[in-house]
Symmetry: C2
Subunit: 316 residues, 2 copies
């Protein structure tokens, strides 16, 4: 049987996969275009989930299973996949550790004014008066209280923060002091020193954040978006920042990625930009391929449960 | 009775102190030189602990108590103080929260390569390939396992790190996986991804770290010094960094402070410098003055226990 990757893991990972499954024919390609020919005779495709089209699904007549090595499947041709009854699994669950650590890193970067400290070093300035705060006793609102949000909450509680969560039900979960539904977000927003959005992109969340949300926040509040860029119109966010409705935004996701060179967000003093990397530590791919290998055993032996099966109708 | 401060807390704190003790005469001065005249008739001096001399102690004939609003008392004229049997109290115990948070902030700054991320933003570079690590499952050696070290350990365990401690006895404490005495530090150093030194300056610790310690560490290890600058000769540290014995040093304390403008540490790529600010968040002074006020009640009422009494013979 044949497995095609539309990306190329590092050599040692390719070697490990091959040695674990000596009777499987693996083809690793740098991108989907190079993979096209082999895909037509493959039973399994392994992809980051942003490169497959209806046409790929139609031509891949042997295809039975797609392993997506990310969590976002909004760009997958799910309708075509469903019609052909192809199994889809993803890598959800491996994002929580790196994303929660990243979040705490951003909080401390802000609280301790690290960016100003590093600038001072470049100019050999010894300034003990730079304002510094603590996380202890500060309030954080975590918008999206799934696996990632819960891990952020766990670490925030270790720092003795006041932790407010937003989820669809409003039902409280471990490590949250209070939980609210999306409709009642205003109440915790008013108290927030930090707002972390890990909302996915769905009909309900696209352009969710409006100017009144930023107006509700303290002028000293920090907005962090690690979920999807389209949950807030960038013009609204820029206006809120220019009006000093909030103090700072840390943005890892954007309406258009990569963020265009001429985009005003790049140059704003009160904005920190990272290139959609909150989950992509060096542990990411090994963990994703671990799920793939476990599922491949299940597939080959036709026995056991697949990890992280996607309902291609619901889309998650 | 008269209380003299050799520094000036912000107006609202001065007001709060005065209103809490209406029958006490408070004098707040910007520095010790301005305070000298009033000190001669004061029962109490409040100081950061770096400005008093033998002569001050001799002239302050009414002096009965010195409140030091820091933890380090190595610059205090302890012999003269002991001879006159003056009570000394300090602010130990208030450093652990800000210093532990600071430590985790530095760890995440390194793991997530934030300084390079921020540089990329300045040049509008979208680079998803910057290497990023996690704290999860990394090893940290905490040299000095007192109150501060234990708080660092508590947070490090929340990040699921492997936590090794160094204290005088080698006796294990909560949140440490293993504990070693200073003589046996080599064993954990070899495993360390991060080494955090919070050693004070004592006969035993001055110039403690030698080249062989850095040679023992991994080439990818990070050395963090938040304790005192004289625990390592800066020439040795610089040589270790230049020889790539370790990957990076975060230094908050130095042999000479402020670090002189022409000091080579300022310009080193693999060194991050902060101006001895690991504990000085905006919560610092309120917490220190809270201890002062509690002790002042004890002093006035001549009843109860003073907090943080220093043995001026032992020096701690």
């Amino acid at each position: 049987m044949k497995v095609v990757f539309t990306f190329e893991p590092p050599a040692e990972m390719r070697k490990e996969i091959r040695s674990s499954f000596p009777y499987v024919e693996f083809h690793f390609f740098q991108n989907v275009d190079l993979a096209e020919t082999e895909m037509e005779s493959s039973e399994v495709i392994v992809t980051y989930g942003e490169d497959l089209t209806d046409e790929h699904i139609e031509r891949a007549v042997q295809l039975k299973w797609i392993m997506v090595t990310s969590a976002g499947i909004e760009r997958m041709p799910l309708k075509a996949i469903k019609e052909k009854n192809i199994l889809v699994t993803n890598a959800r669950g491996i994002h929580k550790t790196p994303m929660a650590e990243f979040t705490i890193g951003l909080l401390l970067d802000h609280a301790r004014n690290f960016q100003l400290q590093w600038k001072n070093q470049q100019q050999r300035i010894w300034d003990k008066t730079i304002p510094q705060a603590e996380l202890n006793n500060q309030s954080i609102v975590i918008v999206g209280a799934g696996a990632i949000g819960q891990e952020i909450a766990r670490l925030a509680k270790a720092f003795r923060m006041n932790v407010f969560g937003i989820n669809s039900s409003g039902t409280i979960k471990e490590n949250f002091d209070e939980m609210y539904s999306l409709e009642n977000i205003s109440t915790p927003l008013e108290k927030a020193d930090y707002v972390v959005s890990i909302l996915p992109s769905t009909e309900q969340t696209v352009q969710f954040y409006q100017m009144n949300h930023f107006e509700k926040m303290k002028n000293t509040a920090v907005f962090i978006n690690l979920g999807r860029g389209d949950v807030v119109k960038e013009e609204i966010l820029i206006e809120a920042l220019n009006n000093k409705e909030i103090a700072h935004a840390y943005l890892d996701v954007f309406q258009t990625e990569p963020l265009p060179k001429n985009h005003p967000l790049w140059g704003m003093e009160n904005v920190t930009i990272t290139p959609h990397i909150s989950s992509t530590t060096k542990n990411y791919l090994p963990r994703a391929l671990d799920i793939f290998q476990k599922n491949l055993h299940t597939y080959i032996n036709n026995k056991g449960q697949f990890i992280n099966v996607i309902d291609s109708e619901r889309g998650y």
